[in-house]
Amino acid sequence: MTSGKRSILLTILALLVTASIFVASGLGAVKITIIEILDILLTKLGISNGQSQHEAVFWIIRLPRVLLSAFVGAGLAISGTAMQGIFRNPLADPSIIGISSGAASTASVFIVVLSAILPQWYTMWGVSLLSIASFIGAAITAWLIFTISHTKRGADLATMLLAGIAINALGGAITGVMTFLADDVQLRSLTFWTLGSLGGATWQSAGIVAAITTVCLIFLIPISKGLNAMALGESEALHIGINVQSLKVRVIILTTLAVSATVAFCGIIGFIGLAVPHILRISFSSDNRFLLPASALGGALLLIWADTLSRTIAQPAEVPIGVITALTGAPVFLYLLIQQKRKAKYA
């Protein structure tokens, strides 16, 4: 892909994301027109003096939620792209190596145990403590997987994937036990965590996720050359001057950060990290100089619309976002597996 074509595609994607933010913020139980939205924004900037009745809905509920979904989508998708690069496997995804599940199972233990032992604390500090708990859960899982697969020669990727599978099973079992122990109220909370939701969006959560995702983008986009080289193989990448070890460490740390931040505020949202890079790869190019920024934009686009669907399809109720992304992502995953098998047959 030439750099000219690359810039055009990225610009188009960026424009689509911007347009989607406006359009999606207008959709929902209360419809807000684009003109009203612009009026509200201009009022906020002190330029206009509009009197829109929908200001509160837009400014306090819709916009932070749409922005949160954009940054969560971007963070998850770019994590998926980077992981697929270092694992040399298009199936790698933060939820596959167990980071998401580690975070969610820690959160589930926290919900059930803390609300039973210290109910007052839970009502007061529940949400913030929960976020911290899932963050710690994700970090411990990532550290565990990294330590298990670490050898003198660097991270062994096969061991890493297998360790991820084991941790996923363990995390699933822990969450299962907690579901068994939970009462009705806790069960609702657990469902939020395991199926994901952007319903808790505030300016604060959107801001934190935006900051973390931006940090990840800043540090991941420059390694596109290294990720391309990894497609040749680890030793080949080394031979063309890539410091493979530091590349791996960087990707592991940054993706853990991005994924744990999203799990902390929105629970597990699967398949974004898997589906977005893959769709971009088959439609355009595997070149990570394009793929990394494009998957951030594509992930934002996909999650904005998945979340809009989740909150409008069964109004006034919300369908968990994890259900929507899994429903669209799982078929893509299966298609991928079948394609890979077919390729292996002719290789």
């Binding site: 497609a231 063309i240 790869r281």
Partner: protein, 277 residues
């Protein structure tokens, strides 16, 4: 020049794959590494490309110890082509060749990098493949793309280049084997050094300036083809009846494996001790 000092390698289980080996190779020299399966040919090549972390000994390239250089600094002096490179993602051939320039640029390739890519593509004769997906190519075509990548990597570097090739001829037909070796020879004669692992001893005899004969992880000969490719050395290495004649058209040895009666008699009559080193 390449100065290999006492490199050796043992598996974590203690099996010695390569006994302490030392040799020197000058600029403009093409070195062929031959030997039976499991003789340590690839191990030798891997320890020269810093792929084996537990290998002991030192490899000097123009006075610089390769161990002390960063991967990028090494990549600006040495290119390596492995036996078979399978790519996990789809990349067009042009991008694969451009990867050879990765150590040369930070973010965006320069005009000079693209010129190096074009030059390498012509050298390796893969012009007709540049827009195809690497994974859709045949094994032989992939091999030629990889050599183009290596040529691009070593194009107009500061100082001589070291090219390491592990069985590069495996998937090539006769014509391309010779074309390939002509190109490599030409590249080597420009003041670079090439080491290649090769199974076809007659090709080694025709093209190499020196031949390294390996057996059980030991270097049993390192010399010009005429001196290294003797019946004695080859019998020791391959443990198979062999006869060496003078090549009728080239000033090189011609090696015949198999069973001409005289060779058989010679082997049967000789005491096995005579051929053991």
């Amino acid at each position: 020049m390449l100065d290999v000092q006492n490199i050796s390698f043992a598996t974590p289980g203690g099996k010695k794959l390569l006994h302490p080996t030392s040799f020197k190779a000058g600029l403009g020299e093409l070195i062929a590494i031959i030997g039976p399966n499991g003789a340590g040919k690839s191990t030798l090549l891997k320890s020269l490309s810093n792929q084996l972390h537990d290998a002991s000994g030192d490899v000097f390239w123009n006075e610089a110890n390769l161990k002390n250089l960063s991967p990028q600094e090494q990549a600006l002096k040495r290119a390596v082509v492995a036996q078979q490179v399978y790519m996990t993602m789809e990349f067009p051939v042009r991008e694969v060749v451009l990867m050879g320039r990765y150590p040369h640029f930070q973010k965006q390739p320069s005009k000079h990098d693209f010129e190096a890519v074009d030059w390498a593509i012509r050298q390796a004769e893969v012009e007709h493949l540049i827009d195809r997906s690497y994974n859709s190519l045949s094994g032989g075509e992939q091999q030629r793309v990889q050599i183009a990548r290596a040529f691009a990597q070593l194009h107009e570097i500061n100082g001589p280049g070291l090219l390491l090739l592990d069985e590069p001829l495996n998937n090539l037909d006769i014509k391309h084997q010779h074309r390939f070796l002509d190109r490599v020879t030409e590249f080597t004669k420009q003041g670079n050094t090439t080491l290649l692992v090769i199974h076809d001893i007659n090709l080694a005899a025709l093209y190499a300036d020196k031949v390294a004969v390996l057996k059980n992880g030991e270097l049993i000969a390192f010399d010009t083809p005429v001196r290294a490719l003797t019946e004695k050395n080859l019998l020791t290495a391959y443990d198979f009846p062999v006869r060496v004649e003078h090549h009728p058209y080239h000033n090189a040895p011609a090696v015949y494996f198999g069973c001409p009666a005289t060779a058989h008699e010679k082997i049967n009559n000789s005491t096995s001790k005579q051929y053991q080193l």
